[in-house]
């Protein structure tokens, strides 16, 4: 087992006029080679900012701190701007959510793909073009040679996302971060793209961080899972562990929200978690989830809640002991 990416206590702070916003707080996780890690959470939980923080693509006002951020042993926290730009697109790649606007409308597909390789490798334009064609075919685009001369607006959303994936693979990165790559696509295309990502991972052996709000995607793709809520990881572990034995009330709430054909009865209320995400400006007291947690009590505040590690890479953020939280889960299920 070889660790590809190690993250310890990653923070993102953004100064606002009303105080300092902490959208990402003390994240600790890792990704192994060839492994898919899914970061899942609702809108606004900080997962997108996490991916930007990993790539050092945060907006200017935001600042990033942490104890450790290493990609294959390279320290990304102390890397200079020049070193980071050498790593981006080369050792680390990123796929974004909106394929419609993520490609420059003024240049051809071929130009943008070749550019990705020419920046990091000492190859000729011809060699870069051949690699582009090879990868376009790998992502399932027919007539690849002809596609090179096309402009982004001439392709559909699904095709554009495939082009994005191919473009990210131009330099054979060790790690790919995909931020909600299928959210903006049709449901049928979603499945295709996810399958494609899985196959490519199998073939090229890169690590994949998949950011999503959709538990169905997690179920299909994840080897390991991080559940994020209000800027913190509230639970992490392998997919079997998190789905089979959810320790945190939020995770259980999320799983509950998915209607299961056959199991959910007609007319039954769809599960939902009442309340709203708390404000993350300034110092927040205690557990971020306690305003919405059915088991909140006085131990939940005001001290910050630490991640409770109960196994290798397995942890949850709650003051309840494993037995207490499992019992609470059974109570919830009985309702």
């Amino acid at each position: 087992m070889s660790v590809l990416l190690e993250v310890q206590d990653l923070n993102v702070d953004i100064p606002l006029s009303s105080g300092i916003l902490h959208p990402v707080q003390k994240l600790t996780f890792h990704v192994d080679k060839g492994e898919t890690l899914c970061i899942v959470g609702e809108s606004g939980c900080g997962k997108s900012l996490t991916s930007l923080a990993l790539m050092d693509l945060l907006p200017k006002r935001a600042s990033r701190t942490g104890t450790k951020l290493e990609l294959a042993g390279m320290n990304l926290l102390t890397a200079s701007n020049r070193e980071m730009s050498d790593i981006r697109g080369n050792r680390m790649g990123m796929i974004f959510q909106e394929p419609m606007s993520s490609l420059n409308p003024a240049f051809t597909i071929g130009n943008q793909m070749e550019e990705a390789m020419l920046r990091h490798r000492d190859v000729s334009r011809k060699e870069a073009r051949e690699r582009a064609i090879y990868l376009l075919e790998k992502v399932g685009i027919t007539g690849a040679r002809g596609r090179l001369g096309q402009y982004p607006h001439q392709l559909s959303g699904g095709l554009r996302q495939r082009v994005m994936i191919a473009m990210t693979l131009m330099c054979g990165p060790d790690l790919i971060i995909a931020d909600e790559p299928t959210t903006a696509l049709d449901v049928t295309i979603q499945a295709q793209i996810l399958l494609l990502l899985k196959e490519l991972q199998r073939e090229f052996g890169m690590g994949l961080i998949l950011i999503t709000h959709d538990l169905g995607v997690v179920a299909r793709m994840a080897d390991r899972v991080c559940v994020m809520y209000a800027g913190q990881i509230v639970e992490q572990g392998t997919a079997e562990e998190v789905f089979g034995d959810p320790m945190h009330p939020y995770t259980r709430g999320l799983i509950d929200c998915i209607p299961v054909p056959g199991k959910t009865k007609r007319g039954e209320h769809l599960g939902s978690i009442p309340g709203m995400v708390p404000s993350l400006v300034g110092a927040f007291q205690g557990c971020h989830f306690r305003d919405r947690c059915p088991h909140a009590h006085d131990r939940c505040a005001p001290d910050p809640i630490h991640l409770n590690w109960i196994g290798e890479g397995r942890g949850y953020r709650c003051v309840l002991s494993p037995e207490e939280t499992r019992r609470a889960g059974e109570l919830e299920a009985a309702e």
Binding site: G89, E98, L103, P105
Partner: protein, 305 residues
Amino acid sequence: MLVFMARRLFVAVLVAFTVSVIAFSLMRISGDLAVMLAGEDATAEQVEIIRERFGLNRPYYIQYLEWMGKAVQFDFGESMFYPQSVSSLIVDRITNTLTLAGFGLAFALSLSIPMGVLAALRPDSWIDRLALTIAVLGQALPGFWFALILMFIFGLYLGMFPISGSDTYWHFVLPAISLGYYSTPAVMRLTRTGMLEVMSSDYIRTARAKGLHTGTILFKHALRNAVIPVVALSAVQFGNMLGGSIVTETVFQIQGLGKLAYDGVLKNDFPVVQAVLLLVAVFYIVLVLLGDLLNAWLDPRIRVG
């Protein structure tokens, strides 16, 4: 897209004809052109002679049609004041005005595009405020006053540039600055807004994620998109400079179309004035169309459909 351009062309031709009517009528508004030409002390006979000589006794529309008929062949008749045909007068002077406007545009662009880009990259910084100040001052500065100040400081006092005439390219430096400065605010604002919008776009984020150099991101990816509307605006500004060069040419004694029109108006040289007005307007129409064409050409979404 062809249908769109055809429609624009049709409107353009219509506008051109309307302008030709205006150009033709302008000098005749206060009444009898023959009386104006003859002067205050002329007798009725002298006025009649003039009327005959220039065909001013014929119906209005006939005079117009005759003029237009020749105008489209670039024959604008004879000047009342110079011993030359109007066309040759125009040909003599048009290069000066085109040079002046060209230099003026070059100055405006070389000042406003870099400033607009820098202001967009560092919003609310001192450079942004400097750009804003230049823009605000530029719009309040009377053109003739600015021209005189430039002439005074750089021409007379420091002796760096010649202050009148149009013999060498040096002669065009001060006039170009004076003329071009007025266009700077608009171009700078458009560049700044365009760059701000583009720099926050998704494809720039992708370019960064690919690890491209900052220079590549700025000049290849960002500017290429931000500059499209600026090109169209530049064409319009060039057209404005062609028509607005009167003051600059008069101050710096440049024998261009503006000065020709000015002298012509003062001397009641109506063939000259009509011709210059029409020409400048037609130039403007062509430039606007050109601007739109360039706009469409530069954006692959329109060009390749």
